[in-house]
Symmetry: C2
Subunit: 217 residues, 2 copies
DNA sequence: ATTATCTATAGATCTATAGATAATGC
DNA sequence: ATTATCTATAGATCTATAGATAATGC
């Protein structure tokens, strides 16, 4: 006591940024393995891929599972951020979903590794308490209450639509030669119909030019 | 040569059956771990769970991955066998799909571990060259050619419907209190509509009494 | 006599930590 | 002086195999 060592709690900024970079390198390396479906890698494999000393791992995470979980969550968040950018100005839920589903395929083509992390996380990701899932659920519920979508159970519609989206992304991932935009548009028409939009309107919603795919930071 | 040692290639039957039982115990133990999503277990964990000597493993499989793959495949085959039993007499593809989807939820309630193995295998299972997937694809193609379903690309419809089915099974697995039959029926109506069946007919197809869930051997 | 299974173990791999080094801030 | 990172390593697993035992067939 009595020894003043600078502003309490104030950590040097450069060191902070360096630590954040190291952590990000670990997360990105882990995503690389998750994208290949390799969940059984060792901590050393990950630190080597991140080009980071082995012991450094323990300065950021306690267990390998903790890192893998953060890696999968970060991939989902990145994906959600892209979709949020694309739909932020839209008010009609049918249009929000039309855009979201049409872009899903196109995003897969631009960020296949990111999508692969999500695919390898399995369908359990649909139950994750992520902002994206919660947002989609609220949108469906509101659209059903307003009579824009039919039915009154948002969960069934959400899980069916979300599962279908994963299925189509899996299809695009496995078939690089397919026209992702065309596949996604056909797929979006079907999902909208499933949600209660008429066949004619669903087709019209998906016939307009799709928005641009935003860059990932 | 010259030394006759009984019928060539004829192995004692009892030993065969014992070996098959041991292998089945290993596969079932592996399925137990897969149902919990634990793909990182050791060979010793599996042999312990199967109540089998550690070294015995190597008499049946070369690597852990080989066993886990067979375990997941066996779960899918068991599931396919149940669905095949339920739909074998039906000729109208719309009815085949209606029954299949309606039963998916009910099968989940009767064999949750089996379904959990499939769920934890991820959406990649939709791409597996399994009899069930091939069969579903052919059914959709035939129904589209006959004008019973709309569209002309069976793969998009297959992946969307299959993914949706996984999503709903995930939902039922996570919510034991839900009425699986009611959820599956609502879900089946939506999928049929997505495939091109009119809303009225889809509702009618899913309003009849569902068949009994068969027992697993 | 043959084959499946079991037990024990050597060697490989992996995790967690301790102590040394490098980077930054004062 | 402080904090992040790195290197080295002890101890804990895990895998693969060798040799012993048990079950079955002749």
């Amino acid at each position: 006591m009595g020894i003043a060592a600078g502003p309490a709690g104030a950590t040097p900024r450069r060191a902070d940024r360096r630590k954040a970079r190291t952590r990000a390198a670990l997360v990105r390396a882990a995503q690389g393995f998750l994208a290949e479906g390799r969940t059984g890698v060792s901590i050393r494999d990950i630190t080597d891929a991140a080009d980071v000393g082995f012991g450094t791992f323990y300065g950021h995470f306690e267990t390998k599972e903790q890192l893998l979980e953060e890696a999968a969550g970060a991939a989902l968040d990145g994906y959600a951020a892209m979709l949020a950018t694309l739909t932020e100005g839209l008010t009609d839920p049918a249009e929000v979903f039309a855009v979201s589903f049409r872009m899903a395929g196109r995003l897969q083509r631009r960020h296949p590794e990111l999508v692969r992390v999500i695919l390898n996380s399995g369908t359990a990701i649909l139950l994750s308490d992520s902002g994206m899932v919660r947002h989609a659920r609220a949108d469906i519920a509101a659209a059903q209450a307003a009579g824009r979508f039919d039915g009154d159970d948002p969960d069934i519609a959400l899980m069916a639509a979300g599962g279908a989206m994963l299925g189509v992304m899996q299809m695009l991932d496995a078939n690089p030669e397919l026209d992702a935009g065309a596949v996604a548009d056909q797929f979006a028409v079907r999902i909208l119909r499933m949600l209660g939009i008429s066949a004619d309107e669903a087709a019209a919603l998906c016939a307009t030019a799709p928005p641009m795919v935003p860059e990932l930071p």
